[in-house]
């Protein structure tokens, strides 16, 4: 996967057929992480703390519903175009941002399923394509390729 073209609000990524299939497979697995996020504060025990936590949980749940809908949308043909080198993935800036969040959710969900290890390098080598370790690495691979090359330098 590589960035093939980019203008102000349009991103075009070149994938090979295997990458396209893997990315579609990942999208179909979303969501993998639990909907609940972290507590909004480690130390705030004021009267409004419970309300704040409730508001955060509701906001994250609503965002999750939006991302689910958008994950299905990213599988639709309008985002994909055939080319001699393999499928092209066409994204607006907003859709690219959404795809990043979806992939990161999958990566995080796999890490949680693996028991939240501190040292990722100590994990057992990747096995079948369906293992959490493999899915986590795959999501990370696509994330890195989606990020603006400037951030990676």
């Amino acid at each position: 996967m590589k960035l093939a073209d980019h203008s102000s609000n349009r991103w075009c990524f070149q994938l090979n057929h295997q990458e396209a299939n893997l990315l579609r497979g990942l999208l179909s697995k979303f969501p993998l992480s639990p909907v609940a996020g972290h507590p909004f504060s480690k130390s705030d025990d004021s009267a409004g703390a419970a309300d704040r936590q409730k508001l955060l949980n509701e906001s994250l749940a609503e965002h999750r519903r939006d991302l689910k809908r958008l994950a299905r949308d990213l599988l639709r043909e309008e985002h994909w175009r055939p080319s001699p080198q393999g499928p092209l993935l066409l994204l607006s800036s907003e859709a690219r941002e959404i795809l990043l969040q979806i992939l990161n959710d999958i990566r995080l969900g796999c890490w949680q399923a693996l028991g939240e290890p501190d040292d990722l390098e100590q994990l057992a080598p990747a096995e079948p394509l369906t293992s959490h370790r493999t899915l986590m690495d795959l999501a990370g691979y696509f994330e890195m390729n989606l990020l603006d090359p400037d951030v990676l330098c």
């Binding site: 705030d44 004021s46 990566r107 040292d119 890195m144």
Partner: protein, 102 residues
């Protein structure tokens, strides 16, 4: 040396009492991002740039603080704005909290 026979009058300092607005007295919060071993460093940098409009060096500085020191204070804001940032950061699956600024 110049001499003068006129008495010199030194103006007395005027001490103004400054009134703080209600906003200035309202509690403020630190928005803190905590380290985790799973979010990619480039992803965290990207999120900081996107959410706070920071340039890459500033975003990377905070990302490295998170990575090396375990946390980074990102901004100090009133409750409403701090809450907004925590919501947005958690939507990106970063471990962010707001803590009362003392």
């Amino acid at each position: 040396m110049v001499s003068t026979s006129e008495p010199v009058t030194v103006p007395q300092p005027v001490i103004e009492r400054q009134e703080k607005s209600a906003d200035a007295l309202a509690p403020t919060y630190y928005v803190i991002c905590w380290n985790d071993p799973v979010n990619l460093m480039a992803y965290v940098t990207h999120v900081f740039m996107k959410l706070f409009g920071w340039d890459k060096p500033k975003a990377q500085k905070h990302m490295l603080e998170v990575h090396q020191q375990g946390k980074s204070i990102l901004v100090r804001e009133g409750s409403e704005k701090a809450e907004f940032y925590v919501h947005e950061l958690q939507k990106y699956k970063l471990h962010a909290t707001m803590e009362p600024a003392t």
